[in-house]
């Protein structure tokens, strides 16, 4: 096949590209320039689109022996990922930008462009697997569950999965680093990237405050009694306990947790730990990574965070919303996050959580 390898400058995408070449594919390396004013140097584990990273990607492509180009996706990234991130926070939800980037950039803008140019698909260094089944290509967890990234890929449609190649899904991260070393790739020991790539300081709250302002608002209890103030409701997340700055103690001295964020009134609602419990979640805009889900109730697992646990549940699709009923309640669940349904290791599909109870 003729493939585009998306190369971030990290170890995973470098080894993925090398493996695709070894598998006999005709591979071209592409680094996505996602920031319109990239920083020169990478700082620690943050960011993945500095100029230094693009040099690392180029060097890896040269060592592997494949052509290399830089694609400017800064505008698409800004509109599809950064703006969405801000809008979601402004609406009181907690978005996952990596998921959005896979949905709108890597397996949409890049894959579409690649296909139009005559390529068959896109190779990435994601830890996930695909399998060919009777119903087509399906998405599965990586062998290395601690590195599994199927959660952030769960927004891919069947059509997108068909064009996605994940050569690392069968290997642990430790072995990928060893392999990179053996292949002579200088990025073998480069630190993993964490956090949000477009917030180079790592200070998400500060970054949001700079863009969304810091309008003071009330922190109230479940009865609506004001017990404190905050500087921007969006800097809180459901289930958060620390940093509330509350001086009025509860009657029994038990801690308070963020239960709800109400962006319209700029209010943060807090309450007791048990009030965080969620048994049912509903998600909008579902995407099926394989055969679609119907009204019939099925058994499976739901995951609500990138590296969270797979929680046993019953699930069904009511025609508009994807509904999951947990066997055991979960404490603290933010809307805006993705709920991803698994059938064993297979990703069934995902939806954006819009309602919890």
């Amino acid at each position: 096949m003729k493939l585009i390898a998306a190369m971030s400058g990290g170890v995973d995408s470098a080894v993925a590209a090398a493996r695709a070449v070894e598998a006999g594919h005709e591979v071209i390396g592409v680094h996505l320039a996602l920031a319109s004013n990239p920083q020169k140097y990478r700082s620690g584990a943050r960011g993945c689109c500095t100029i230094e990273d693009s040099h690392d990607a180029r060097r890896a492509a040269d060592v592997i022996g494949i052509p290399f180009y830089i694609w400017d996706m800064a505008e698409e990234f800004h509109d599809g990922v950064v703006e969405d991130f801000l809008a979601e926070y402004a609406a009181g939800r907690t978005p996952n930008p990596c998921l959005r980037c896979n949905e709108k950039i890597k397996f949409a803008a890049v894959l579409d462009r690649a296909r139009a140019m005559g390529f068959d698909g896109v190779v990435t260094g994601h830890y996930a697997r695909t399998q060919i089944s009777e119903t087509g290509k399906t998405l599965h967890r990586a062998v290395d569950h601690s590195k599994d990234q199927s959660y952030v890929l769960s927004v891919l449609t069947i059509e997108q999965i068909a064009g996605a190649i994940f050569p690392l899904g069968d290997t642990t991260k430790v072995d990928i680093r060893k392999e990179a070393e053996a292949r002579g790739l200088a990025v073998a020991q480069k630190p993993d990237s964490h956090d949000i790539c477009f917030v180079p300081s790592g200070d998400n709250a500060g970054w949001l405050r700079d863009r969304l302002g810091s309008e003071v608002g009330p922190i109230v209890d479940q009865e609506g009694v004001k017990i404190g103030e905050h500087k921007g409701a969006y800097t809180y997340t459901i289930g958060q306990r620390k940093g509330l700055g509350l001086t009025v103690p509860t009657v029994d001295g038990s801690p308070r947790f963020v239960l709800k964020i109400e962006p319209v009134t700029n209010t943060v609602v807090v309450g007791a730990r048990e009030d965080l419990a969620v048994s049912t979640m509903k998600g909008e805009r579902p995407v099926w990574c394989g055969p679609g889900v119907a009204e019939q109730v099925l058994r499976g697992f739901v995951q609500v965070r990138a590296h969270g646990a797979a929680l046993p549940c019953s699930y069904f699709f009511d025609g508009t919303l994807l509904v999951a009923q947990l066997d055991e309640p979960l404490l603290g669940l933010a809307t805006g996050q993705a709920m991803v349904i698994y059938d064993g290791d297979r990703v069934v599909g995902s939806a954006t959580i819009c309602e919890t109870a």
Partner: protein, 381 residues
């Protein structure tokens, strides 16, 4: 797979004769500044080369200052002539809007750090500088102008600039000319043009990388950028790079670039393009141009996509400039000629050279339809 090189404006294949001369010199021992036999031998070789290059560009041997690149020569000239003028109360730097970054950026640096006011001369839609603008500027603010720097021909479009007219308008104002693209491609004489300074580069004419020259009028003394041993009229210190200088001179002496042949190839290419992609347009078509450069706008495409597709067909061409992050940017040259950002970003440069053949042209034309079709599809995706 085919391997067609049509990026001679970026760099050229090194001539066998230049490589041989350079290799022989690499085996020679002696610092040209040393007073002993070894030193004198190297010095003689360098001075032979200097005289040879001087002859080729129509200047005195003493006017040739060797540098490590065209960029360095441009920096020495622009900054040096500016500082010289500033000492006399002149603070205006006049350049064209289509200069290479090796002039644009030093000019900007002078504005940011040295108190210069930079005035850009606009160009016509054909890519030729506006002489009336310059005339007005010189007549109203001539006393304030420290230096005028205009390129001999543009590296992206190949459009030749009216340097004689610029010098006539400038009168006593020092004029520098970046001639790296023109040298050995079109007639060029430093003395006939009446310039103060001129920039040359070896690797654009079949010589080695890493060697250039600033031709600086004999009596002009400007401050140095590199201080040290005082080589090269104390304007450019540093041990002279004898092997590269020899390679440079050998390339300069060579008459391998046949302008008529290259121009015929170029014109045939343009004719073929017009048939295959009727809405493609050649930038600067109406102007006098270098024989080898063709800059084409393909509506509805993106240059970087086209470059990838051309490259995967074995054709090496160029998209113009990229920023430090490697992202392709709209060419300031095409923007200055009136292009929108969108159309400037749908342009490719093909630059033919002495080694180009009709077979190259035929091959490129054979892959153009598929490249343009895919490029347009990718642009819509």
């Amino acid at each position: 797979m085919s391997s067609i090189y049509v990026d001679h404006a970026a760099t050229t294949p090194m001539l066998d004769s230049a490589r041989t001369a350079m290799t022989l010199q690499l085996a020679q021992l002696g610092n040209p500044s040393s007073l002993h036999t070894h030193g004198r031998a190297t010095r003689k070789t360098i001075e032979d080369a200097r005289e040879s290059i001087a002859k080729q560009v129509g200047c005195l041997a003493s006017e040739v200052i060797f540098t490590a690149s065209g960029t360095e020569a441009n920096n020495i000239a622009l900054k040096g002539l500016y500082w010289q003028g500033r000492d006399k109360g002149k603070h205006v730097v006049v350049i064209s809007a289509i200069e290479h970054h090796a002039i644009l950026d030093p000019a900007q640096w002078l504005a940011d750090h040295e108190g210069a006011e930079v005035v850009l001369i606009p160009v016509s839609s054909s890519g030729v500088i506006d002489l009336d603008f310059l005339k007005d500027l010189v007549s109203t603010r001539g006393q304030e102008i420290a230096v005028i720097s205009i390129m001999h021909s543009n590296n992206e479009t190949g459009v030749l600039q009216p340097i004689s007219e610029v010098v006539a308008i400038a009168g006593e104002i020092p004029v520098h000319c970046d001639a790296v693209q023109s040298f050995k491609k079109v007639p060029l004489s430093f003395s006939e043009l009446g310039l103060y300074a001129l920039t040359l580069s070896a690797h654009k004419i079949g010589g080695p990388l890493g060697i250039g020259a600033l031709i600086l009028r004999r009596t002009v003394e400007i401050p140095a950028l590199l201080h040290g041993g005082g080589q090269e009229r104390e304007i450019r210190s540093g041990t002279l790079n004898a092997p590269s200088i020899v390679g440079f001179a050998t390339a300069a002496e060579s008459e391998h670039f046949n302008a008529m042949n290259v121009q015929d190839l170029r014109d045939g290419f343009i004719e073929g393009l017009n048939k295959i992609v009727p809405d493609a347009s050649i930038n600067g078509l109406k102007a006098n141009r270098l024989p080898g450069i063709v800059n084409v706008t393909f509506p509805g495409t993106q240059s970087d996509t086209l470059l990838l597709l051309m490259d995967s067909q074995g054709v090496s061409c160029s998209t113009g400039s990229a920023c430090s992050a490697g992202v392709h940017e709209a060419s300031h040259v095409l923007l200055a000629m009136g292009h929108s950002v969108e159309s400037a970003q749908s342009s490719l440069r093909f630059s033919f050279g002495a080694s180009s053949t009709q077979a190259d042209v035929d091959y490129i034309l054979s892959v153009v339809p598929d490249v343009i079709t895919r490029g347009r599809a990718a642009n819509l995706s």
